[in-house]
Protein backbone atom coordinates (compact mmCIF):
# COMPACT_ATOMS: atom_id res chain seq x y z
CA UNK A 1 0.00 0.00 0.00
CA UNK A 2 2.67 2.45 1.02
CA UNK A 3 4.72 1.47 -1.99
CA UNK A 4 1.76 2.04 -4.27
CA UNK A 5 1.24 5.45 -2.74
CA UNK A 6 4.90 6.23 -3.06
CA UNK A 7 4.71 5.40 -6.74
CA UNK A 8 1.48 7.25 -7.23
CA UNK A 9 2.87 10.52 -5.93
CA UNK A 10 5.59 11.06 -8.50
CA UNK A 11 3.25 9.82 -11.18
CA UNK A 12 0.67 12.46 -10.30
CA UNK A 13 3.36 15.08 -10.13
CA UNK A 14 4.60 14.00 -13.52
CA UNK A 15 1.15 14.24 -15.05
CA UNK A 16 0.50 17.65 -13.57
CA UNK A 17 3.86 18.95 -14.74
CA UNK A 18 3.48 17.50 -18.24
CA UNK A 19 0.06 18.95 -18.68
CA UNK A 20 1.25 22.33 -17.50
CA UNK A 21 4.34 22.45 -19.71
CA UNK A 22 3.17 20.85 -22.98
CA UNK A 23 3.64 23.17 -25.95
CA UNK A 24 1.61 21.89 -28.88
CA UNK A 25 1.26 24.53 -31.50
CA UNK A 26 -0.36 22.44 -34.18
CA UNK A 27 -4.06 21.61 -33.81
CA UNK A 28 -4.36 18.00 -32.71
CA UNK A 29 -7.10 16.25 -34.59
CA UNK A 30 -7.23 13.54 -31.93
CA UNK A 31 -8.65 16.04 -29.52
CA UNK A 32 -11.67 16.79 -31.72
CA UNK A 33 -12.34 19.93 -33.63
CA UNK A 34 -13.79 21.77 -30.73
CA UNK A 35 -17.10 21.95 -32.55
CA UNK A 36 -20.06 22.29 -30.28
CA UNK A 37 -23.73 22.20 -31.15
CA UNK A 38 -24.94 25.56 -32.39
CA UNK A 39 -26.71 27.33 -29.57
CA UNK A 40 -30.47 27.39 -29.82
CA UNK A 41 -30.98 30.07 -27.28
CA UNK A 42 -28.51 32.57 -25.98
CA UNK A 43 -29.71 32.57 -22.42
CA UNK A 44 -29.57 29.58 -20.16
CA UNK A 45 -31.08 29.13 -16.75
CA UNK A 46 -28.55 29.69 -14.04
CA UNK A 47 -26.19 31.37 -16.46
CA UNK A 48 -24.51 28.05 -17.26
CA UNK A 49 -24.44 27.00 -20.84
CA UNK A 50 -24.97 23.27 -21.06
CA UNK A 51 -22.10 22.44 -23.34
CA UNK A 52 -20.62 19.00 -23.81
CA UNK A 53 -17.14 18.86 -22.37
CA UNK A 54 -14.72 19.08 -25.20
CA UNK A 55 -11.51 17.10 -25.14
CA UNK A 56 -9.67 20.27 -25.95
CA UNK A 57 -10.82 21.98 -22.79
CA UNK A 58 -8.59 19.85 -20.60
CA UNK A 59 -5.48 20.33 -22.70
CA UNK A 60 -5.81 24.12 -22.74
CA UNK A 61 -7.31 24.89 -19.39
CA UNK A 62 -4.33 24.27 -17.11
CA UNK A 63 -1.56 24.65 -19.66
CA UNK A 64 0.92 27.42 -18.99
CA UNK A 65 2.01 27.84 -22.58
CA UNK A 66 -1.49 28.12 -23.98
CA UNK A 67 -2.53 30.58 -21.32
CA UNK A 68 0.43 32.81 -21.99
CA UNK A 69 -0.29 32.58 -25.71
CA UNK A 70 -3.86 33.55 -24.85
CA UNK A 71 -2.52 36.54 -22.96
CA UNK A 72 -0.48 37.60 -25.97
CA UNK A 73 -3.46 37.24 -28.30
CA UNK A 74 -5.69 39.11 -25.85
CA UNK A 75 -3.44 42.07 -26.33
CA UNK A 76 -2.73 41.51 -30.05
CA UNK A 77 -6.43 41.25 -30.89
CA UNK A 78 -7.14 44.34 -28.81
CA UNK A 79 -9.62 42.62 -26.51
CA UNK A 80 -8.71 45.41 -24.11
CA UNK A 81 -10.46 47.80 -26.46
CA UNK A 82 -13.71 46.75 -24.82
CA UNK A 83 -12.60 44.75 -21.79
CA UNK A 84 -9.80 47.07 -20.66
CA UNK A 85 -7.18 44.62 -19.37
CA UNK A 86 -10.01 42.57 -17.94
CA UNK A 87 -11.34 45.44 -15.88
CA UNK A 88 -14.29 46.12 -18.10
CA UNK A 89 -15.40 49.12 -20.11
CA UNK A 90 -17.63 48.89 -23.10
CA UNK A 91 -17.63 45.14 -22.50
CA UNK A 92 -18.06 43.42 -19.17
CA UNK A 93 -15.25 43.00 -16.68
CA UNK A 94 -13.48 39.65 -16.93
CA UNK A 95 -11.72 39.75 -13.61
CA UNK A 96 -14.67 39.50 -11.26
CA UNK A 97 -16.72 36.56 -10.17
CA UNK A 98 -19.69 37.48 -12.34
CA UNK A 99 -20.06 35.36 -15.43
CA UNK A 100 -23.06 36.19 -17.56
CA UNK A 101 -22.70 33.04 -19.62
CA UNK A 102 -20.86 30.66 -17.37
CA UNK A 103 -17.28 30.48 -16.24
CA UNK A 104 -16.33 27.17 -17.84
CA UNK A 105 -13.72 27.26 -20.57
CA UNK A 106 -16.28 25.82 -22.97
CA UNK A 107 -18.67 28.70 -22.30
CA UNK A 108 -15.97 31.29 -22.80
CA UNK A 109 -14.84 29.57 -25.97
CA UNK A 110 -18.42 29.61 -27.23
CA UNK A 111 -18.70 33.31 -26.36
CA UNK A 112 -15.64 34.15 -28.42
CA UNK A 113 -16.73 31.93 -31.27
CA UNK A 114 -20.35 32.85 -31.55
CA UNK A 115 -20.48 36.24 -29.90
CA UNK A 116 -23.09 37.40 -27.41
CA UNK A 117 -25.88 39.95 -27.50
CA UNK A 118 -25.10 43.54 -26.57
CA UNK A 119 -21.89 43.89 -28.51
CA UNK A 120 -19.63 40.84 -28.25
CA UNK A 121 -18.88 40.03 -31.90
CA UNK A 122 -18.45 36.53 -33.24
CA UNK A 123 -14.84 35.60 -33.95
CA UNK A 124 -15.56 32.08 -35.19
CA UNK A 125 -14.30 32.85 -38.68
CA UNK A 126 -11.49 35.16 -37.70
CA UNK A 127 -9.66 33.28 -34.99
CA UNK A 128 -8.52 29.70 -35.47
CA UNK A 129 -10.11 27.31 -33.05
CA UNK A 130 -6.98 26.60 -31.00
CA UNK A 131 -6.34 30.30 -30.55
CA UNK A 132 -9.90 30.73 -29.29
CA UNK A 133 -9.23 28.03 -26.74
CA UNK A 134 -6.05 29.80 -25.73
CA UNK A 135 -7.95 33.05 -25.28
CA UNK A 136 -10.66 31.27 -23.32
CA UNK A 137 -8.08 29.67 -21.04
CA UNK A 138 -6.47 33.06 -20.48
CA UNK A 139 -9.79 34.74 -19.74
CA UNK A 140 -10.38 32.16 -17.05
CA UNK A 141 -6.97 32.93 -15.61
CA UNK A 142 -7.85 36.63 -15.61
CA UNK A 143 -10.57 35.83 -13.13
CA UNK A 144 -8.22 33.85 -10.93
CA UNK A 145 -9.67 30.55 -12.09
CA UNK A 146 -6.45 28.94 -13.25
CA UNK A 147 -3.85 27.16 -11.12
CA UNK A 148 -1.31 29.74 -10.07
CA UNK A 149 1.57 27.47 -11.14
CA UNK A 150 0.37 27.73 -14.74
CA UNK A 151 -1.31 31.13 -14.94
CA UNK A 152 0.56 33.83 -16.85
CA UNK A 153 3.00 36.10 -15.07
CA UNK A 154 3.31 39.84 -15.45
CA UNK A 155 4.18 41.40 -18.77
CA UNK A 156 7.12 43.69 -19.35
CA UNK A 157 4.62 46.56 -19.51
CA UNK A 158 3.28 49.22 -17.22
CA UNK A 159 1.87 47.62 -14.10
CA UNK A 160 -1.92 47.66 -14.36
CA UNK A 161 -2.92 45.00 -11.91
CA UNK A 162 -1.23 42.01 -10.32
CA UNK A 163 -0.54 39.32 -12.85
CA UNK A 164 -2.77 36.30 -13.18
CA UNK A 165 -0.44 33.93 -11.33
CA UNK A 166 -0.77 36.08 -8.23
CA UNK A 167 -4.54 35.97 -7.98
CA UNK A 168 -5.66 33.88 -5.03
CA UNK A 169 -9.25 34.83 -5.82
CA UNK A 170 -11.14 37.61 -7.46
CA UNK A 171 -11.68 39.41 -4.18
CA UNK A 172 -8.19 40.91 -3.95
CA UNK A 173 -8.15 42.21 -7.49
CA UNK A 174 -6.98 45.67 -8.19
CA UNK A 175 -5.51 45.91 -4.73
CA UNK A 176 -1.88 45.30 -4.31
CA UNK A 177 -0.48 43.28 -2.70
Amino acid sequence: MRQALAMLLPLTLALVACQREERDTRPQSALGSGEQPTPVTTLEPGGQRPSPTDNKAASFEANAFHMSEGKRLFSWFNCSGCHANGGGGMGPALMDEKWLYGSSIESIHATIRDGRPNGMPSFGQKIPDDQMWELAAYVRALGGNAPSSAAPQRNDDMMVHPSENRLPDAATLGKSP
Binding site: R154, M159, P162, S176, P177
Partner: protein, 201 residues
Protein backbone atom coordinates in the same frame (compact mmCIF):
# COMPACT_ATOMS: atom_id res chain seq x y z
CA UNK B 1 56.93 5.26 5.11
CA UNK B 2 59.11 5.40 8.16
CA UNK B 3 58.42 8.13 10.67
CA UNK B 4 60.40 10.04 13.22
CA UNK B 5 58.92 12.19 15.93
CA UNK B 6 59.81 15.82 15.37
CA UNK B 7 57.30 17.79 17.41
CA UNK B 8 55.09 17.34 20.41
CA UNK B 9 51.58 18.75 20.38
CA UNK B 10 50.38 17.44 23.73
CA UNK B 11 50.68 20.79 25.47
CA UNK B 12 48.42 22.66 23.10
CA UNK B 13 45.13 24.10 24.32
CA UNK B 14 41.87 22.63 23.05
CA UNK B 15 40.17 25.82 21.96
CA UNK B 16 40.95 29.39 21.01
CA UNK B 17 39.10 32.64 20.54
CA UNK B 18 38.84 34.91 17.52
CA UNK B 19 41.19 34.37 14.59
CA UNK B 20 42.81 31.44 16.35
CA UNK B 21 39.67 29.37 15.86
CA UNK B 22 38.57 27.93 12.50
CA UNK B 23 34.95 28.83 13.25
CA UNK B 24 35.89 32.49 13.32
CA UNK B 25 37.38 32.14 9.85
CA UNK B 26 34.32 30.26 8.65
CA UNK B 27 32.12 33.04 9.98
CA UNK B 28 34.32 35.56 8.21
CA UNK B 29 33.98 33.57 4.98
CA UNK B 30 30.21 33.61 5.17
CA UNK B 31 30.28 37.32 5.97
CA UNK B 32 32.41 37.87 2.90
CA UNK B 33 29.99 36.11 0.61
CA UNK B 34 26.91 37.64 2.19
CA UNK B 35 28.55 41.03 2.11
CA UNK B 36 29.20 40.52 -1.59
CA UNK B 37 25.52 39.74 -2.01
CA UNK B 38 24.58 42.97 -0.21
CA UNK B 39 27.05 44.94 -2.27
CA UNK B 40 25.69 43.55 -5.52
CA UNK B 41 22.08 44.22 -4.53
CA UNK B 42 23.05 47.78 -3.61
CA UNK B 43 24.96 47.97 -6.89
CA UNK B 44 21.84 46.88 -8.77
CA UNK B 45 19.87 49.63 -7.02
CA UNK B 46 22.46 52.23 -7.98
CA UNK B 47 22.65 50.92 -11.55
CA UNK B 48 18.92 51.39 -11.99
CA UNK B 49 18.93 54.71 -10.15
CA UNK B 50 21.65 56.03 -12.43
CA UNK B 51 20.03 54.73 -15.63
CA UNK B 52 16.73 56.50 -14.98
CA UNK B 53 16.85 60.28 -14.71
CA UNK B 54 13.40 60.26 -13.11
CA UNK B 55 14.50 58.07 -10.18
CA UNK B 56 12.79 57.36 -7.78
CA UNK B 57 10.15 57.16 -10.52
CA UNK B 58 7.79 59.69 -8.92
CA UNK B 59 7.23 57.47 -5.91
CA UNK B 60 6.44 59.06 -2.55
CA UNK B 61 9.35 59.33 -0.16
CA UNK B 62 9.64 56.57 2.40
CA UNK B 63 8.96 57.40 6.02
CA UNK B 64 12.38 57.04 7.56
CA UNK B 65 11.37 56.90 11.23
CA UNK B 66 10.96 53.15 11.71
CA UNK B 67 14.26 52.68 9.88
CA UNK B 68 15.94 55.31 12.00
CA UNK B 69 14.66 53.66 15.19
CA UNK B 70 16.06 50.34 13.98
CA UNK B 71 19.37 52.03 13.26
CA UNK B 72 19.49 53.56 16.74
CA UNK B 73 18.66 50.20 18.32
CA UNK B 74 21.42 48.58 16.29
CA UNK B 75 24.02 51.13 17.29
CA UNK B 76 23.01 50.95 20.94
CA UNK B 77 23.18 47.17 20.88
CA UNK B 78 26.85 47.30 19.93
CA UNK B 79 27.76 48.32 23.47
CA UNK B 80 26.38 45.25 25.32
CA UNK B 81 27.52 43.18 22.35
CA UNK B 82 31.15 44.06 22.97
CA UNK B 83 30.85 43.80 26.72
CA UNK B 84 29.52 40.30 26.08
CA UNK B 85 32.52 39.63 23.89
CA UNK B 86 34.91 40.50 26.68
CA UNK B 87 33.26 38.10 29.10
CA UNK B 88 33.10 35.39 26.46
CA UNK B 89 36.86 35.64 26.06
CA UNK B 90 37.22 35.29 29.83
CA UNK B 91 34.84 32.31 29.75
CA UNK B 92 32.82 33.62 32.70
CA UNK B 93 29.44 32.04 32.66
CA UNK B 94 27.13 34.39 34.57
CA UNK B 95 27.87 37.60 32.68
CA UNK B 96 27.80 35.69 29.41
CA UNK B 97 24.33 34.37 30.21
CA UNK B 98 23.10 37.84 31.11
CA UNK B 99 24.70 39.28 28.00
CA UNK B 100 23.11 36.70 25.74
CA UNK B 101 19.67 37.36 27.17
CA UNK B 102 20.21 41.08 26.63
CA UNK B 103 21.40 40.49 23.08
CA UNK B 104 18.42 38.26 22.33
CA UNK B 105 16.09 41.01 23.45
CA UNK B 106 18.09 43.62 21.54
CA UNK B 107 17.76 41.38 18.50
CA UNK B 108 14.03 40.96 18.80
CA UNK B 109 13.41 44.68 19.33
CA UNK B 110 14.63 45.85 15.89
CA UNK B 111 12.87 42.88 14.35
CA UNK B 112 9.58 44.14 15.76
CA UNK B 113 10.23 47.64 14.46
CA UNK B 114 11.28 46.13 11.14
CA UNK B 115 7.73 44.86 10.76
CA UNK B 116 6.64 48.52 10.50
CA UNK B 117 9.42 49.41 8.13
CA UNK B 118 7.91 47.64 5.16
CA UNK B 119 4.69 49.70 5.11
CA UNK B 120 6.76 52.81 5.82
CA UNK B 121 8.46 52.39 2.46
CA UNK B 122 5.24 53.87 1.04
CA UNK B 123 5.47 51.72 -2.05
CA UNK B 124 4.83 48.11 -2.96
CA UNK B 125 7.33 45.81 -4.57
CA UNK B 126 5.17 45.47 -7.66
CA UNK B 127 4.58 49.17 -8.22
CA UNK B 128 7.81 49.79 -10.08
CA UNK B 129 11.48 48.84 -10.09
CA UNK B 130 12.26 51.38 -7.37
CA UNK B 131 9.73 49.73 -5.08
CA UNK B 132 11.09 46.30 -6.03
CA UNK B 133 14.63 47.28 -5.10
CA UNK B 134 13.58 48.74 -1.74
CA UNK B 135 11.77 45.55 -0.82
CA UNK B 136 14.67 43.43 -2.01
CA UNK B 137 17.23 45.37 0.03
CA UNK B 138 15.09 45.43 3.13
CA UNK B 139 14.10 41.78 2.68
CA UNK B 140 17.71 40.70 2.22
CA UNK B 141 18.75 42.38 5.44
CA UNK B 142 15.72 41.11 7.33
CA UNK B 143 16.63 37.55 6.38
CA UNK B 144 20.03 38.02 7.97
CA UNK B 145 18.50 39.68 11.00
CA UNK B 146 16.03 36.84 11.55
CA UNK B 147 18.76 34.22 11.09
CA UNK B 148 21.06 35.88 13.56
CA UNK B 149 18.39 36.51 16.17
CA UNK B 150 17.32 32.85 15.92
CA UNK B 151 20.95 31.83 16.27
CA UNK B 152 21.41 34.05 19.32
CA UNK B 153 18.31 32.65 21.03
CA UNK B 154 19.37 29.05 20.47
CA UNK B 155 22.86 29.85 21.76
CA UNK B 156 21.35 31.55 24.83
CA UNK B 157 19.34 28.43 25.64
CA UNK B 158 22.43 26.32 25.06
CA UNK B 159 24.51 28.37 27.48
CA UNK B 160 21.94 27.71 30.19
CA UNK B 161 22.51 23.97 29.87
CA UNK B 162 25.44 21.88 31.05
CA UNK B 163 26.85 22.01 27.52
CA UNK B 164 27.70 25.63 28.10
CA UNK B 165 30.75 24.94 30.23
CA UNK B 166 32.99 24.41 27.27
CA UNK B 167 35.61 26.59 25.70
CA UNK B 168 34.18 26.08 22.26
CA UNK B 169 30.75 27.30 23.37
CA UNK B 170 32.36 30.48 24.66
CA UNK B 171 34.09 30.69 21.31
CA UNK B 172 30.67 30.39 19.65
CA UNK B 173 29.46 33.30 21.76
CA UNK B 174 32.39 35.31 20.46
CA UNK B 175 31.52 34.42 16.87
CA UNK B 176 27.91 35.37 17.50
CA UNK B 177 29.08 38.77 18.70
CA UNK B 178 31.18 39.03 15.55
CA UNK B 179 28.23 38.19 13.29
CA UNK B 180 25.96 40.69 15.03
CA UNK B 181 28.54 43.39 14.26
CA UNK B 182 28.25 42.34 10.64
CA UNK B 183 24.45 42.56 10.70
CA UNK B 184 24.67 46.07 12.15
CA UNK B 185 27.46 47.13 9.82
CA UNK B 186 25.68 46.02 6.64
CA UNK B 187 22.55 47.81 7.73
CA UNK B 188 24.13 51.28 7.69
CA UNK B 189 24.67 51.57 3.90
CA UNK B 190 21.34 49.90 3.22
CA UNK B 191 19.63 52.32 5.57
CA UNK B 192 21.20 55.27 3.79
CA UNK B 193 20.32 53.83 0.39
CA UNK B 194 16.70 53.11 1.24
CA UNK B 195 15.78 56.22 3.19
CA UNK B 196 18.19 58.94 2.24
CA UNK B 197 19.16 58.27 -1.38
CA UNK B 198 15.61 59.09 -2.64
CA UNK B 199 15.77 62.34 -0.70
CA UNK B 200 18.88 63.38 -2.57
CA UNK B 201 17.26 63.44 -5.98
Amino acid sequence: MKQRAAADLSGLPTFGHGPRSPTWWGTLGFMALEGTGFALAAGAYLYLALSWPAWPLSAPQPNHWPGTIVTILFVVSLVPNHILHRYAKQCSMVPVRIGLVVMSLLGIAPLVVRWFEFPALNIYWDTNAYGSMLWVLLGLHTTHLITDVGDTIVLTVLMFTRHGYSGRRFGDVGDNVFYWDFVVLTWIPIYLLIYWAPRLG
